[in-house]
Symmetry: C2
Subunit: 454 residues, 2 copies
Amino acid sequence: MTEEMESRPWEQLEEILEQGDLQELTQYIDELPADEMARALSRISREDQKEIVRILDWEDAADLFEQVPDSLAVDLLRQVSTGDAAKVLNQMQSNERADLLAEFDDDEAEAILEKMQPEAAADARLLTSYPPGVAGGLMITEYLWHYETSVVDDVIRDFREHAEIYSDYDVQYTYIVTEEMVLIGVLRLRDLLLSPNKRKIADIMIRNPLYVRDNTPLTELGAFFDEHELMGVPVADSDGRLIGIVRREDVDDALIDRSDSDYLKSQGIVGGEELRSMSVWRRSSRRLSWLSINIVLNMIAASVIAAYQDTLSAVIVLAVFLPIISDMSGCSGNQAVAVSIRELSLGLVKPFEVFRVWTKEISVGLINGLVLGLLLGTAAFLWKGNVYLGIVIASAMAINTVVAVSIGGCIPLLLKWMKSDPALASGPILTTITDMCGFLLVLSFATMMLAKLQ
Amino acid sequence: MTEEMESRPWEQLEEILEQGDLQELTQYIDELPADEMARALSRISREDQKEIVRILDWEDAADLFEQVPDSLAVDLLRQVSTGDAAKVLNQMQSNERADLLAEFDDDEAEAILEKMQPEAAADARLLTSYPPGVAGGLMITEYLWHYETSVVDDVIRDFREHAEIYSDYDVQYTYIVTEEMVLIGVLRLRDLLLSPNKRKIADIMIRNPLYVRDNTPLTELGAFFDEHELMGVPVADSDGRLIGIVRREDVDDALIDRSDSDYLKSQGIVGGEELRSMSVWRRSSRRLSWLSINIVLNMIAASVIAAYQDTLSAVIVLAVFLPIISDMSGCSGNQAVAVSIRELSLGLVKPFEVFRVWTKEISVGLINGLVLGLLLGTAAFLWKGNVYLGIVIASAMAINTVVAVSIGGCIPLLLKWMKSDPALASGPILTTITDMCGFLLVLSFATMMLAKLQ
């Protein structure tokens, strides 16, 4: 495999596309590992990308798109007609399809949905109607179900008749429902095959099967699969009707995605992930949308400095310490943000437990504030030989560290409580407040001691 | 489930522990969802935590520890004797055991290993000998294997004799090896049961099974499972000998962990995750170890300001813009860092492709630098009515944005190339350089135009 890592699979892909040999293309795509395939697809020209969708069977194209990162798949689908995109999406697994549709703008998604097969479109509308990260949005709709009134023979006959469709499903069970589609049992295929033809399904099914509600959040689904050695769990709506199956692997994938997206958002990549294969304008404008909010917040924070210009020109050395205090408070606060977001996603803390988090942070803040304050204060004193300067800097640093960890620890919980996204908004809110507070502390303490500092 | 979320399971746990009823404790632990269990465990007293390990069977304790976050499990195991910790670890699955041992200090781990069962300890030593995130460290050593020379009857007899051990394994296959333990086939249990007793295993096994080398990195394992609908893949060492099985779910878990830890490290939580149930001193000192490096880097960067004090006191308004330029450049650079780390982990970019990343970043940097520079420069001009101030600020902001995205985009690749951890070191290196560079640009431009600015 190592040699392949050094290779440039996109060059081979371009060569095959030039020859236009469908069989060779299909085989090459089959054999290339998924990550190398994504790498190759992201490096070929727009024309070649379109060509691939044009040449491949819809089903092979769907397989390919299921393997590459969502943002790359959407980028590729944007380049073909909505009709072609619909044909590829028709062939995809229900949850992968819904994930991709959710990444399109509403208008684009609607245009594609209208051209999809009615059944696939209805499935996709159901899945995308759920907020991200709950069972209803993560489930697949490819599963087997039968009525409780069936007998063994009915089910086996149904299997044979629909063998072609069912062969795409990961089948170990069929789910047994009432006439109103209420889930009442699960039947192992093994038990089906070992039972006489006329036996009633209701007699051999396992009653009261485990299930989750459609609004069960991802964290709880993760905990469910940690506990139960199952590959999937049925999903019921508020009336107990079976509407899908959530598979373990999709929950795992969603947990990976959430964690990746928390990381990206905390670093200012918002609105979905960015790949360098996207156009410069798109990358630039998405990054700018975040940066331009931030620069305004920064100007607001810096206005505190502007208000204290007289103090600052009297004691110019303070200007050296302002960016240090701003940056260090941001660091301390972000540590607390990260721990809170982590504990929230592990379910170790609930959004209403703000006070508990605050008491836990305040002690760390006091210790770290004292240490950092002493460090920076001593540096200030040693540099200028003025003990009052040391005191101003040390106390501002210490107090602002306590402020920063308090805000950093609590703000993710408050945002979550208000149904906002903590990974996205915590950073900017934190740094704006701690900057303002830090500047205010340094400059107001300095104003009070102005005579001693000059 | 919703009602349970509002409950305080640790109170019930404390009550049960007070009564000391083993059966009730075991049942309560069995029934509580994994995330609630972790929440409860992290909130009870140290004494109660020890009590749980003391009361539970070793096997139940092992089950419990497999369900909670690693950092919490290690924290709990640190509180009991090394002998008791060894007894719990003996009962754990090989890979979970190795993960926990890897979180202990070397001395602690060695002390526990010495008290473990020799076989479990040898397994653990093998797994922990691999660097994190390769197949050898992720694999489990609980799997079935038989010699190619066996006949059906031998294998079935072996199953019956070891039924108790094997019942813990997730068994669908047995792996077939030569006398030298070289993997040459895989046998489905179904095929075993449907074959005559005297049939040779070599005749019914599937030859040339898929396998991975022990040094296969996590990214490639993820791609492997994206491509192949398998629950696990055998792992071979450099001589082709079978040494373990990597399961899909463990690869998924490792991907989640990597992403979580990238996030935590980028926010300054280093040396493993922090839970608020850990002691104040431990949390505080771990955060401080990071902050104290950062404060030194900050002082180095701020020394640039100190060198230009004369310019600054002549044009005091510059002090307002220094923290803005420092913070904004940090933001722009961190966006580029995040995209690089993401592309590295998706395998879309290789560490040696620094130049490619740089050319992709420079264009985004130019656009965003121009926009942000114009914005901040215009604000400066409008505020003070001095066009030269606007020019100084705008050009410093624009140039520093280009510098920031260049460094931010390339530094994760360079760190990865040097086998360092990009998520950990990228941030501090980035902000130190961009701070110095930003301060230098503003203050040196201002020095050149000093006459026009006053």
